[in-house]
């Protein structure tokens, strides 16, 4: 408001001079008055605002980057855990194989079964299903019985190692669900098998 006082004084002086003149002439239009101070002040305010905005933006960006890093790390950790679980499950699902028309466990099969024990011992709530299968030779009907006996032999071994019998279901699909197609020994040998599946507790598996 103080900035206006000199302007008013000048205006008043002009009026006095004019009224004193004998031949009054219309006063010239007032010159536009430019106040450099107020312009500077406005510019400063704008700059200050932009600076604050930039700072805020930078903060937001930094926070977002940090958040993304945190999320990525969490995801990576979850992925590593999931991979470890998947690996454990895959290792657990490792099938065992049998000789033609036989259900007794070969040494490799025993080793594969031994490798499943730590997971079973670390997860007492886990229930599993062993599915017995046969190759396409032999009678369709008799092969269901043979697959059942193969799965039962695997269960018996795990029970002998201290796993509770009621945690293990056994089923047989005979020759009806081959793992490998074909009518040669390479297909047959992959089909004479028992498969292992976690049916309860697979989501909350604790690694041994």
């Amino acid at each position: 408001m103080n900035a206006r006082l000199p302007m008013l004084a000048a205006l008043a002086a002009t009026v006095l001079v004019v009224s004193a003149c004998p031949a009054p002439t219309p006063p010239p239009p007032p010159e536009p008055v430019v106040n450099q101070d107020s312009i500077d002040a406005a510019a400063r305010a704008r700059a200050e605002q932009e600076r604050l905005a930039a700072e805020a933006e930078a903060r937001r960006r930094a926070e977002a980057e940090a958040e993304a890093r945190r999320r990525a790390e969490a995801e990576a950790a979850a992925r590593r855990a999931a991979e470890a679980l998947a690996a454990a499950r895959a290792a657990f699902a490792q099938a065992i194989y049998y000789d033609y028309d036989k259900s007794d466990l070969k040494p490799e099969a025993r080793a594969t079964l031994d490798a499943k024990l730590p997971l079973l011992r670390a997860n007492a709530n886990v229930r599993i299903r062993i599915a017995g299968h046969t190759d396409e030779r032999g009678s369709d009907a008799y092969n269901i019985a043979l697959g059942q006996r193969r799965a039962a032999a695997a269960k018996r071994y795990l029970v002998d190692q201290g796993i509770a019998a009621d945690r293990i279901d056994v089923v047989s699909f005979g020759e009806d669900r081959p793992a490998a197609m074909g009518s040669d020994e390479s297909a047959w040998s992959r089909n004479r098998r028992a498969e292992f599946e976690i049916i309860v507790g697979g989501e909350t598996l604790r690694l041994p």
Binding site: D101, R129, G138, S139, D140, A141, Y142, I144, A145, L146, G147, Q148, R149, A152, K155, R156, D169, V170, V171, S172, F173, D176
Partner: protein
């Protein structure tokens, strides 16, 4: 049965001094012996016929009678139906012992007249009211029943045209008429293996795979209902009905499988039939009198066929006869006349169909081409359905155990586990 062509034929042959006919005449009820002998299949001349569906009807009858393997069918492709009395001598010269006249009435009924050439007379006349729409499965089955009547009048033995074969295809159950027509899915079945027919032809049993193992299901085809009858988790499979239809026997077990009998109308619980001590025991098949059961067992190591009393007493090793290069015999099917048990036996690494005569234990190998499995007797105790890969994929085939004649029953997607129905009295 009272008026059959066979007896007069036998009399005629006996008058000619043929010893076979004399010996058969001496034994009442052994008339089928005539048709078992090569060259004595009676000739049947099938006259041209008229009617809206004459061609279909005649084609079905001719094919059924041909597939029956007991009659020599003489069926010229064209011609007009004769009018007036038949010239019996003419048909006799053409090799016919009988002449079949078929007329389709305006209302759809089918009238049959069977003439006996030797006696120059009408042997049988019958009109069949047929209510089903033409060319539907029920209509075809009605025509098949006419075929079976004709075969009975001509030969003394009822035909097997009015039957179906249930089988496994694509994991579920299908049915096909005995002549290969009318292939249809069995409604309501999800997973379905090892089908078995109740003697009433309306109820079936089968194995069902589930995530928790296999179960045995009894299904009423007419009502569309089904229930699981297996009583324990584990392997439950290969059901079969007792001939009186009151008991279901199937294989069940967790560590080794045994045969168990379940009463279908309630009452006592499951009864164990075999004591396998951890071995496989499966694929039961009743003797027609219901007193014995043939089954496969691995109790001595390799699978072999055994027979036990149906209460589990007196198990005996049936297939002791040494033949083939390996001991692997399975899938027994007891013939409805009680005389034979069909089974599969491994020869040179492949399964072949064989039958064992229960009187003298002689074994007859019936197949040689490809791998052949899963025999199931037709109700005539003469034909068998089985699975063969001889066409390049596993398909059902029909075999005449007397003549060795074979025909392919199914085509297309792989088919196996054929089960021949009893004679069907329902559509």
């Amino acid at each position: 049965m009272s008026r059959s062509l066979v007896r007069p034929l036998l009399v005629a042959l006996a008058l000619l001094g043929l010893p076979l006919a004399s010996s058969l005449l001496a034994q009442e009820g052994v008339r089928i012996g005539l048709t078992y002998t090569a060259g004595t299949r009676p000739g049947l001349y099938v006259l041209p016929m008229r009617g809206a569906h004459a061609d279909s009807i005649r084609a079905i009858l001719v094919r059924d009678l041909d597939f029956g393997d007991r009659i020599s069918v003489i069926a010229p492709d064209s011609g007009t139906p004769p009018t007036g009395p038949l010239n019996y001598a003419l048909y006799g010269r053409l090799g016919a012992a009988a002449v079949l006249q078929v007329v389709q009435q305006v209302n759809g009924a089918v009238s049959i007249t069977l003439h006996e050439v030797g006696a120059s007379r009408v042997l049988q006349e019958k009109t069949y009211p047929i209510t089903a729409d033409p060319d539907t499965p029920a209509w075809r089955m009605a025509i098949h029943r006419i075929s079976d009547d004709i075969e009975e009048w001509v030969t003394g033995v009822r035909g097997i045209a009015a039957t179906r074969i249930m089988f496994n295809r694509g994991g579920t159950l299908w049915m096909v008429d005995s002549d290969g027509a009318n292939v249809q899915r069995v409604p309501g079945v999800g997973s379905g293996l090892h089908p078995a027919w109740h003697p009433n032809g309306r109820i079936i049993a089968h194995t069902e795979f589930a995530d928790d193992g296999s179960h045995v299901v009894v299904r009423d085809l007419a009502e569309g209902t089904a229930r699981r009858v297996s009583f324990a988790l584990g392997a439950n499979f290969t059901p079969t009905f007792s001939p009186d239809g009151k008991t279901l026997v199937f294989s069940s077990g967790v560590d080794g499988t045994d045969l168990w009998a379940v009463r279908l109308e309630g009452g006592e619980g499951p009864v164990r039939v075999t004591v396998g001590r951890g071995s496989e025991n499966a694929s039961p098949s009743y003797s027609p009198d219901g007193r014995r059961i043939a089954f496969v067992s691995g109790r001595l190591g390799r699978p072999e066929i055994y027979i036990t009393d149906s209460d589990g007493a007196n198990p005996q090793w049936l297939t002791t006869t040494g033949f083939g290069d390996q001991s692997y015999r399975s899938d027994p099917s007891w013939a409805p006349d009680g005389r034979h048990v069909a089974f599969q036996t491994q020869i040179e690494g492949r399964f072949q169909i064989a039958i064992i005569n229960l009187r003298d234990r002689s074994v007859k190998q019936l197949t040689i081409e490809g791998a052949n499995e899963q025999p199931s007797w037709a109700p005539d105790a003469r034909h068998l359905v089985f699975t063969s890969n001889r066409s390049g994929s596993r398909q059902l085939w029909v075999l005449d155990s007397e003549s060795g004649r074979m025909r392919q029953l199914t085509h297309g997607v792989l088919a196996r586990m054929g089960a021949w129905s009893p004679r069907l009295v329902v559509p």
